[in-house]
């Protein structure tokens, strides 16, 4: 083991270390969730069958035994870890189906929405930032105000406004529960605009602080035109810090998706989560928490590993 470590290039060693830390974080999430659920007041069987549902004492005992609730807590914890490690997310008693199948049938609409929203937000933010960076006070003030409004607008309210205007009054786009690309437009905008506001602030800030940097001066002195300078150097430089925001953006997208999917009655993980929380379907909530923390960890680890590779300035501290 010891002998093989120095053979790896520094970035790979760093990647291995980060991956190990990531596994530890997921394990921590599982642990926190497990003990929160099992130590919270109330009978867990209630959380399994859901509020309003009643079960005979015999059935309750059967459910408890099936879920392993008659075992000591640490044994249950060990079983949960073993189960999750083998990719089994458990069983939803309320919905009467394996959670793995439930989530995999709902993951695609959410991914579609998130990817569409992220792309839209990036395009809007870059456009807004490029068009307003370094302009006069009036332009920048107006841009900053627009961004503040965009950031502050709750996505559910934006969704309601868009629905009212474009679906119910102008009748140009389908309303709730619509399939297909046209049905994706309004939910995407509801999710993308607040994010675009935030990203535009960051990108403009970067663009404006880049202006005095030596590499800009060098490029200018080589006779590079302003447009080429922007596209080839400044913008690339300004987009770099966004990678460190990846985890934050992802969280915002998923949190927003919970609300947007509910407003637009779209299928997806957010809908599942909201209804699972409402009916206190704890196995489904746990599975979604573990799933999202795994995704966060993977994205954050990738960012940490890739960031020094694409930003030479970080190589010294990041990898050593």
């Amino acid at each position: 083991m010891r002998a093989s470590v120095p053979a790896l290039p520094p970035w790979a060693r760093f990647a291995v270390r980060r991956a190990a830390a990531g596994v530890a974080v997921v394990w921590g999430t599982v642990t926190v969730t497990f003990f929160a659920i099992h130590l919270a007041p109330g009978d867990i069987v209630d959380g399994l069958i859901g509020p309003g549902a009643s079960a005979t004492p015999a059935l309750r005992r059967q459910i408890a035994a099936e879920a392993g609730l008659d075992q000591p807590l640490l044994v249950q914890y060990g079983q949960e870890l073993r189960q999750l490690a083998s990719g089994d997310l458990g069983w939803s008693y309320q919905l009467g189906q394996p959670i793995g199948r439930l989530l995999s049938s709902q993951v695609w609409p959410t991914v579609q929405l998130a990817v569409a929203a992220l792309t839209t937000a990036l395009v809007l933010a870059v456009l807004a930032a490029v068009l307003t960076a370094g302009r006069g006070r009036a332009v920048r003030g107006a841009a900053a105000l627009t961004e503040l409004l965009a950031v502050s607008m709750p996505s559910f309210w934006l969704g309601i406004i868009l629905l009212t205007v474009f679906s119910y009054n102008l009748h140009v786009l389908p309303a709730v529960g619509a399939d297909g690309p046209a049905g994706l437009v309004l939910p995407t905008l509801s999710l993308a605009l607040p994010l675009a506001g935030l990203l535009a602030q960051v990108i403009r800030h970067e663009l404006e602080t880049t202006d005095g940097k030596p590499f800009v001066l060098t490029a200018r002195s080589r006779g590079l035109g302003e447009r080429a300078l922007l596209l080839r150097h400044t913008l690339r430089h300004a987009l770099l810090p966004l990678t460190t925001l990846a985890g934050f953006i992802l969280g915002g997208l998923f949190g927003g998706a919970v609300l947007v999917e509910n407003i637009f009655t779209r299928p997806g993980l957010g809908r599942i989560l909201a209804s699972a929380v409402g009916s206190r379907d704890l196995p489904v909530v746990t599975a979604l928490v573990v799933l999202s923390s795994t995704v966060f960890v993977i994205v954050n680890t990738l960012v940490d590993v890739v960031h020094p590779l694409i930003d030479p300035r970080l190589r010294e501290e990041g990898v050593a």
């Binding site: 559910f156 309210w157 629905l163 960051v202 810090p241 929380v277």
Partner: protein
């Protein structure tokens, strides 16, 4: 000194400190005035309306805004404006309560982590890092799944969701302060450790905590409204703004005003608290 303490560490906060925040901007004045108005509405809703928020009038259901019902009526004929005025209290109190819980829990956890030795610090901070990986709304949803919905549980859930970020701030600040000369002096003079923490460390953590809290208030209001939109908030007939949005969701086609105005209220309050919070932050950095 203070500038080093709350200097923005990551691009999100760095982005927050840029923007047109001159000391006497008219925008900031408007925000301050709105905040005062909000406090008055919250304390004396009866001053602003003569209707009752729960009085139903089925004959006047789903009326558009007019002279009698300024913001229209909902599906039960309740006056949307009146419900909005009375809903202020729940919306703001949920967010303020949650922020207090978050700040209190965070301060406790952060101080224990900073003063409790390396092992305690390691365990607590790893736990905080795990929790920080989650967006506030998701963490709050987990707590609501455990406790059930309702006004109090939503405030508790949002509070718990806020604890990690406050804990990280307090722990960082406290560790700096514990190395400062006046804490050293207190130690040399034989002041007990717990007293040093209470008298010297905690008050100095307060400033940045207030700043972070006031910036966080806006997002907490949005998250609280979000939980209510999902039907997890106050139990009817009580309604905060989010619950009003949820009420009107099914009537958008015929009666947009039921949902749109409460959502507008959320947005206005968030913009207001964000402006004030950023101003406090800029002031603290200077």
């Amino acid at each position: 000194m203070t500038s080093a303490l709350i200097a923005p560490a990551d691009p999100e906060t760095a982005a927050l400190t840029t923007g047109p925040l001159r000391a006497r901007s008219p925008l900031l004045g408007t925000a301050a005035a709105l905040l005062v108005l909000l406090a008055v509405v919250l304390a004396f809703p009866g001053l602003f309306t003569t209707h009752s928020p729960d009085a139903t009038d089925v004959a006047a259901a789903l009326r558009p805004p007019d002279g009698r019902h300024w913001l229209g009526t909902d599906q039960l004929g309740r006056d949307v404006y009146t419900r909005l005025v009375y809903g202020t209290r729940l919306s703001v109190l949920i967010a303020v309560g949650a922020t207090l819980i978050g700040v209190g829990g965070g301060a406790l956890l952060g101080l224990v982590s900073a003063c409790g030795g390396r092992r305690v610090d390691f365990v607590l901070m790893r736990a905080v890092e795990v929790l920080l990986g989650f967006p506030e709304l998701l963490l709050a949803l987990l707590v609501v799944a455990l406790l059930g919905g309702g006004t109090l549980n939503v405030a508790v859930a949002l509070g718990i969701a806020g604890v990690p970020s406050y804990a990280r701030l307090v722990r960082g600040q406290a560790r700096l302060l514990l190395r400062s000369e006046y804490v050293e002096a207190a130690r040399v003079l034989g002041v007990p450790g717990w007293r040093t923490v209470l008298r010297h460390v905690l008050p100095n953590v307060g400033g940045p905590l207030v700043v972070l809290g006031s910036i966080g208030l806006g997002s907490t209001i949005v998250s609280g409204a979000g939980l209510s939109v999902l039907g997890l908030g106050p139990v009817p007939p009580d309604a905060d703004w989010g619950a009003m949005v949820a009420d009107g969701k099914d009537f958008l086609q015929t009666a947009w005003w039921i949902s749109v105005f409460p959502g507008l209220a959320v947005t206005v309050v968030v913009v207001t608290t964000t402006l004030i919070g950023r101003r406090l932050q800029v002031g603290a950095v200077r």
